[in-house]
Symmetry: C2
Subunit: 350 residues, 2 copies
């Protein structure tokens, strides 16, 4: 993978914002999208930031994604809500959902806000992280935007990577942020392997005969494997029922492959939970205890050949610090795609 340029975060945000504004997205929406998508790149989730811009624009231009969605409240209780995303970008819908969850959790201690008629929202950590600013813990779950996994033992593509993210604040360390697919490999990693002409390790995919599939150019015939076999299948199914079915959103055979289809309404479902630490513990004490757990894990003796023990969220924090200082690397192929997008939209190239 050749890196031909590095761009500053501010420049990346400007570029994304200009692209959306060129598609008639209202300025405040475009600005919010740009900020969140750039955060994905800054955090090192390269498959979920500006990488997705051409696809989002294509969907907007095909009429499959609303640039000015009416996000409405379908139902509400003191600690819950269900939003209808009005077929808007998941970023806007789930930012609204997280904000509402935080407000409700201030009184109730916890809140669970689901959404339907939403769309792909980028990396899960973005929304799990939002409650941290209010000394809350965040959880986020989504129905993935394309089915690449069968039920355990099956071959029909009925399940997605259905990710979960959880963010827990610490005091002097970065927050603990888990952001994981329920499959061994996210589909983006397979696309990256294909781009690079690399073999996949065994355990990522099998073919419909159950044989290991390691050639990423054959990924179209392959089935993603869940973590822990039936356990990851179970997690994906449960998350799909909670983030999709319960919200009246798509799950199972209803899921629209948004890579292949830019027009059909995806009716993507997600949910976010905000949990107020102060409802359970003194916030300062809790954060200090998370620091202590952090230190305890880092100090463990190590297996031969292991340099360092990492906590979830540690690499994200390090990558973000490095990229905020030195810019975000743009691989050549992506840079070329973004250049032609800019030319088509009549905006400055990145």
């Amino acid at each position: 993978m050749t890196i031909t340029r590095k761009v500053e975060a501010a420049r990346l945000r400007d570029f994304i914002e200009s692209a959306f504004r060129a598609c008639d997205m209202p300025p405040e929406n475009a600005s919010q999208m740009a900020r969140l998508m750039a955060e994905a790149d800054i955090g090192g989730q390269d498959g979920h930031g500006v990488f997705r811009l051409p696809q989002y624009i294509k969907r907007i231009q095909a009429g499959g994604l609303s640039v000015d969605p009416e996000i409405s409240l379908v139902s509400e209780r003191p600690a819950t809500a269900l939003l209808d995303g009005g077929n808007g970008p998941g970023h806007l819908v789930m930012s609204r959902a997280a904000k509402l969850a935080i407000e409700k959790a201030k009184t109730c201690g916890v809140a669970w806000v689901g959404a339907r008629y939403s769309n792909h929202a980028g990396p899960a950590f973005l929304y799990a992280r939002m409650p941290l600013a209010e000394d809350m813990i965040g959880l986020y779950v989504a129905v993935g935007s394309a089915n690449h996994m069968p039920p355990w033992g099956g071959t029909d593509m009925l399940l997605s990577t259905n990710p979960i993210a959880v963010a827990i604040p610490s005091n002097t360390r970065p927050p603990v942020i888990l952001d994981m697919a329920t499959t061994v490999a996210a589909y983006g990693k397979i696309k990256t392997a294909a781009d690079r002409g690399q073999e996949m390790p065994e355990g990522w995919m099998i073919d419909k005969q159950g044989r290991a599939l390691t050639d990423p150019s054959r990924a179209g015939e392959g089935l993603l494997l869940p973590i822990g076999g039936p356990k990851g299948y179970g997690l994906s199914l449960i998350f799909g029922l909670l983030a999709g079915t319960l919200n009246g959103a798509a799950f199972g055979a209803d899921v629209v492959d948004f890579n292949a289809d830019s027009q059909s309404t995806t009716n993507t479902g997600h949910f976010v939970i905000a949990l107020d630490i102060a409802a359970f513990a003194d916030v300062g004490t809790f954060k200090a205890q998370v620091d202590a757990i952090w230190k305890e894990m880092k100090s463990s003796d190590r297996l031969p050949g292991v340099d360092e023990i990492r906590l979830p969220g540690e690499r994200l924090a390090a990558t973000a610090a490095e990229r905020r200082a030195n810019g975000i690397p743009i691989p050549e192929a992506l840079g070329n795609r973004l250049d032609s997008l800019a030319d088509r939209l009549g905006i400055d190239r990145l």
Copy 2:
């Protein structure tokens, strides 16, 4: 494994209740313990039901477990609560927690109730399942009662299997019930393999040099492996912070190995969430949709050699139906242990 007897569920409950009453447990507590522990056996979680009775009794007699705990409210918000379990059995503490969560969720839509100063509670599904009776979804997470897993890349035993259970009701099918450890194998499965003199498959454990460990008699030198490598480690860590640290309960190096130590207060932490389906959807419609998802998964084409696709909770329901009809098989070694327990306590043998 030789099965020397099968006992009816009612007889098993009576036996467990008598054993606890012989240890001066108040009748209502003994009856509740018996009901829940027998449910574990009925559901096929053989390592978490009457199998644990000798250990619980040992702990009671050593002064490490209260038979008449004062379960008190430490803090409360409309949708949250933190209970102090008074060092009582986890079964009693988490039944109380689930009841409180259900009450709160009726108004708030969702409730999250944590507990500290609790103890081992048997299988996770028991508590996730409680909200089903009120047309609610249940989630339950616990800090496991002994550390058998290091952080990813490490060798210090700082983490447990920290299980999660989620229960979602259907209409005509059994409820979808996921009940899983964050490790590839629960420690009980390794004990069972050792009892049977069977090799463990590769992938369950490694030794401190990182080599596959397949001899269960060497399990004491081994490290449990998390599902999905760093992902399962991340889940175990996050669940430990949420069920342990946030509640002021033990997590990490503080966890007391309740197999090895019958006296020290374990300060076990758990939490349970009740989520009211009616806050999001029409209950009947939702249950019918879960049926439809059930059918969709079952109907998938299958990999060669696979007879049937199962949903989480399906085997539990089938085992429970069979055992309610035909009795619960008691392996010979367990039967002998229970006989000597009965003799020591002066109660009728099972």
